[in-house]
Structure formats: C-alpha cells, structure tokens
Symmetry: C2
Subunit: 220 residues, 2 copies
DNA sequence: AAAAAAATTTAGGCTAGGCTAAATTTTTTA
DNA sequence: TAAAAAATTTAGCCTAGCCTAAATTTTTTT
C-alpha cells in the first residue's frame, strides 16, 4: 500500500529526530517539527503504528520499524537527489532548494528516482554535504566533527552544515565559506568562543560560536 | 490564493474538454475525465465558480474565466516541460511519462518552471508534439491535420498524436513512426479506410483507420 | 511520597474531496 | 406536447488530517 505525503513526512521527521542511536521520539517534538498540535500527532502515530511503520506505545514515544526506516530513507534519497538536480542542473543556490525538494521528494516512482540518480552521475552527497542513501537503502553518515571541536592551528575541510536555514547558508556565502573550503583556525577567543579563521589560505574572518557550531568539518 | 492539486486538475481538464472554441463543458464529461461522480463534480464547480475561475450556471455547463484559463495554461506549461525533461534528460520513452508529469505539474514554484524551461533550452513542443505555452501564457495550437484527411500520393510529416495512451504510442514505436517521420500515403482501402503508407521513404506498412485518426500531420 | 507541572491522549469538531440515493431540471422521444 | 430518459443538483455521509478543550498519565518538585 502507498503512503501519503503526510505519512512520508512523519517518517522522515521521526528518522531525523531519532538520530544515530534510533532513540524514541516524543509526541511534542513531532508536533513542533510538523508544525501541528500534539493531538494531531497522536492521531497520525496510531495510524502509522497500524500500518507497521513505527513502534508506538502510548505515552512512550516512537521509533521506526525496519519497514518505516526503509520508507524514510527512500524519501531522504529522493529529497537529496532532487536537491542536487536543482543546484547542479537548474542553477539554484543551496539556500533556495529546500522547500522545492520538500515537494519533489513525494513524487511516487521508483524508476524516476533511479533515472534521476543516473542522470546526476550517482552523487554521494547533496549540496549541503548530506550523504545520499544508495538505491538499496544504505545510508552511511560520515563522522564529521563540528568546527567548535577544532583546535587552534588546525586546518580542516568544510564538509557540511547542521543548520540548513537559508539565512545561515546565505551567511556562509557572504563569508566565502563553501563545501570543500579549507578552514584554518587561527585563534579562539576565550570570552565568547568566537574564532578567527582563514579560508582557503586567503580571506581571514571572524566567525561566531553560533556559526562554528553548525559547520561540519573533516581533518585532512 | 493558491489552488489545490485537485482544483488545478479540474481547470486543466476543463481547458482540454472545451477545445479550441472554448465551449461549455458538461458535468458528466468532467466526471468521466476526473474519474469521479457527477455529484462530486458539482461540488467542485461551485467552489471554482466562487473563486472566479470558471463561469458556472446550474445545469448549463462551465467555461473557464480568463483567470481560470491562466491557471490552466500554467499547469499545461509545467506538464509539458516536465515531459520534455523526462524524455530528453532522463531517457524515458514518450509512452512512460504521462503519469509522472501529472504529478510534477502541480509542484508550485514559478522560478522552478522558468529555470527548468531555461535548462531545457526553451522547447516549443513536448515529446508528443503538443505545443508548450510560453512564460507569458501564450499557447498557440498549430493547425495540423489528421492523417485521415490526407489524400493518396501526398507526403506529410508526422507532428503529433491525438491519443496519448501508452498502448497507442507503443504501437507507433513498433511501426517505426515517430515525430518528424515523413509519411507517404500510397493507398487507401475503400472498405475500412485502412491505409498503406511508406515511412521515411523506407518501410511500408498498413495502418488502420483508428491509427490514422490519431496521427497529426503537416503538409511539407 | 504527595502535589504540581508537563506531556500525552481522548472526545468531539472542522474542511477538502469524495460517494450514494433521492430530487429536480433539461432533453429527447413518441 | 406530454411522457420518458438523461443529466444535474441536493441531501446526507465518509475519510484524511487537522484543531481545541478536557481527561489522563508521566515526570518533576517539594
């Protein structure tokens, strides 16, 4: 049986909120993420549980079943592939594609996804650095670190973002920080943890703790 | 205000059914095309009329208002552009794209359409030969003729199809008839109006009246 | 370990878009 | 042109997803 647009969204969000450990997700957290009320979430949880997509016991929060996980990962795959298409082929900025991909991800057609993947050359990461699950549903999260964990003197490579908000991405654009940029931490201020960094061996700039916390990087 | 997926579909179908003359479309015709019951159509018509998208008087059939026509043409533009994308870029067959485009056409985003149009190189026709409305909403139907109106001895070019059913398109594939093919009518059988034709100066074959009726052609 | 607070669920409703059955209007036929 | 048939609308219901208010359960405080 097919899952609705709304059901797919719930599964995707449960996946995101349960994190690497696959821990329980609360009704309230879901209400916040879906921009609905807790009572509405409860309704949907009952329905998803009946369909065997989540493990749900009243008052205890939910986790995805294996089947639910599969559906969620398919949606994530579609979302990220469409984002690549929008940026690489259509010329959108990385700050503009989220809402459109949010719609495209629910277009139902296995063949479409596979042809799209093929057309794009089987990309491994989306424009924000998030990994794209493969056709079999394998999703491997690379273990990047957050820039706040980098010591003075280290040179790292920018690999992704935690915050996907357009305003944050635009801020990075203005700062000249993009995927692949080399960031050298020159100095960290004790007081507010803001940092002085050098981008790609050129431009020096200050970045706030708020920014550092949302930058995923990798030692080189 | 935004129109729903369903509302857009009604407008698109009313456009298609009212033909070149913009004539009234009946409730029953809409029920058939939308695969719903007449009573449901009546409900929707009331709603579309309230929104100013159609001219509706009880029992009298409907026509599109100028505003409704605009919406319909936008949907058609999106549908046909996506079909070009699916065939030209993703490698789908012309018989496989209708249902997927039916979903994609409702993705809301003006910018997306324009970027897609640009990416595709501003195509004028979709993979079935149907004209693509321009960004301003101009839709000019070329006046092709149907193959049944072609006399013996004439050579014409295949420009489109009236029937978009996969089975018909696949039949054309098997017959080697595609957009742009030159068709020379060698003989027409009085009895059943079937015809003997030559395709691109090579392959000769018989085509039934049913096929002739659905082929749009142009004198050269 | 009670009491208070927070989280969650239940009860009862609402809207969009469907449906069936019955009523009404228009069209066709005799 | 009146009766029959066909088309259309109205009335009353249904489901998916959402809502508020009230009830219930869990968690936190004192």
């Amino acid at each position: 049986m097919q899952n609705s647009f709304t059901e797919e969204n719930y599964l995707k969000i449960i996946h995101a909120l349960s994190g690497r450990d696959g821990g329980e997700v609360s009704t309230n957290a879901l209400a916040e993420s879906t921009a609905t009320r807790a009572a509405s979430v409860t309704d949907m949880l009952r329905k998803l549980a009946e369909k065997g997509l989540i493990n749900y016991k009243k008052y205890q929060g939910v986790t995805l079943t294996e089947q639910g996980e599969k559906v969620a990962i398919k949606v994530i795959r579609k979302h990220r592939l469409w984002e690549v298409f929008l940026v690489e082929k259509l010329g959108f900025g990385w700050d503009e594609v989220h809402d459109i991909a949010e719609e495209l991800e629910h277009i139902p057609s296995e063949i479409l996804v596979e042809k799209l993947d093929n057309f794009l050359g089987h990309p491994r990461f989306d424009p924000h650095g998030d990994p794209i699950p493969d056709a079999k549903g394998n999703l491997t999260e690379p273990d990047y670190k957050v820039l706040t964990d980098v010591h003075v003197g280290e040179k790292v490579r920018m690999m992704g973002v935690l915050d996907h908000a357009p305003s944050f991405l635009q801020h990075l654009d203005r700062s000249g920080i993009k995927l692949g940029s080399v960031i050298e931490v020159k100095e960290i201020n004790e007081y507010d943890k803001s940092a002085s960094v050098q981008i790609d061996g050129g431009q020096s700039l200050f970045i706030s703790l708020e920014v550092s916390k949302n930058l995923l990087v990798q030692r080189r």
